[in-house]
Symmetry: C3
């Protein structure tokens, strides 16, 4: 079976983007191809004009007594970790064409780390029979 790791990256908070990026980097470091489809809020986080802002934390972080990120949310290196994953191995990042349309985003407005627009069919075909995560 395929050893490609495929991730539908839906969430746009720094912690979940970081979780996705570390899984991508881990797989890339092991020599596995990585196939990422950006949807909705993850796609929105990759807009060039927003990529460096503080993307906040998941709702779960607001529970009473929850721990706080030691160095603050802004320091969570999700974008750098995606960059590193791309340098480490073979990783493609596609912007979901359906989500681009729903949110009215132009592919030209995204960070250059994004390779191209792509649909669900292309994503599933690239994933083949390998592992797929939804984050």
């Amino acid at each position: 079976m395929s050893d490609t790791l495929s991730i539908v990256m839906f969430s746009g908070t720094a912690d979940k983007l970081h979780a996705g990026a570390t899984l991508a980097a881990g797989a890339a470091a092991m020599g596995r191809p990585v196939n990422i489809l950006l949807q909705y809020w993850a796609l929105d986080a990759f807009r060039a004009e927003r990529v460096e802002v503080d993307h906040g934390l998941a709702y779960d972080s607001m529970a009473p007594g929850a721990s706080k990120p030691v160095d603050g949310t802004k320091a969570i290196p999700w974008l750098d970790t995606f960059r590193m994953a791309k340098e480490l191995g073979e990783m493609s990042i596609y912007a979901c064409s359906g989500s681009l349309e729903v949110l009215g985003i132009d592919i030209a407005d995204l960070d250059p780390l994004v390779d191209a627009a792509g649909g669900i069919a292309t994503f599933l075909m690239t994933a083949e029979d390998g592992q797929v995560l939804f984050i």
Copy 2:
């Protein structure tokens, strides 16, 4: 290995329901069997009396500067896309018996798109060794 795509559909916001529905429809269009288990808020969204309301967006959408759905949240066609997936191929939608109990929902109160109640064991057996997503 099995080419069935299995999805534990947990989330109840329109954007995540839509993400699940488009993956289901994409797999069905490719001739793959689709196996869905509705838990918690996705199950709650399939109650017949709620299925047409505005199910809102994930918490991530509230980030400062986030994009908005161009046609509004109510226009995100998650239910139509699940219907289409069922017409396109072989898709079963089960209501998790544990979640029905926790939320006090009767199977008779769900939209007719839901086939039956089912448990985790049945879901995992139907998934066989194919891809599984949690949304």
Copy 3:
């Protein structure tokens, strides 16, 4: 291929912890090895001093007209279900070393159900080519 079920457990609300625990218990009951990596808010929920508090529900539960857990949130037996999964079969729970660092948590402060600290590479290697979920 491997029949191990691997779960990146990221979310820290009682409903999502419960969803992860029931999948883990279901797989364990079927004789499958279960491999869990705790990240961020799921890791935080396993701190010994917080493990028994009310961990609340996902943001989706706040939608207008949403159902409520019949016996309240505190009664959702996520920790007991993880305990049961461990008694039923072969389950390992690792605390993500990256998340421990980001949140400033010491491994000694976690519930004894957590076996050890571990990284992404170990998680992916243990997962082999089996099913992987992100919750």
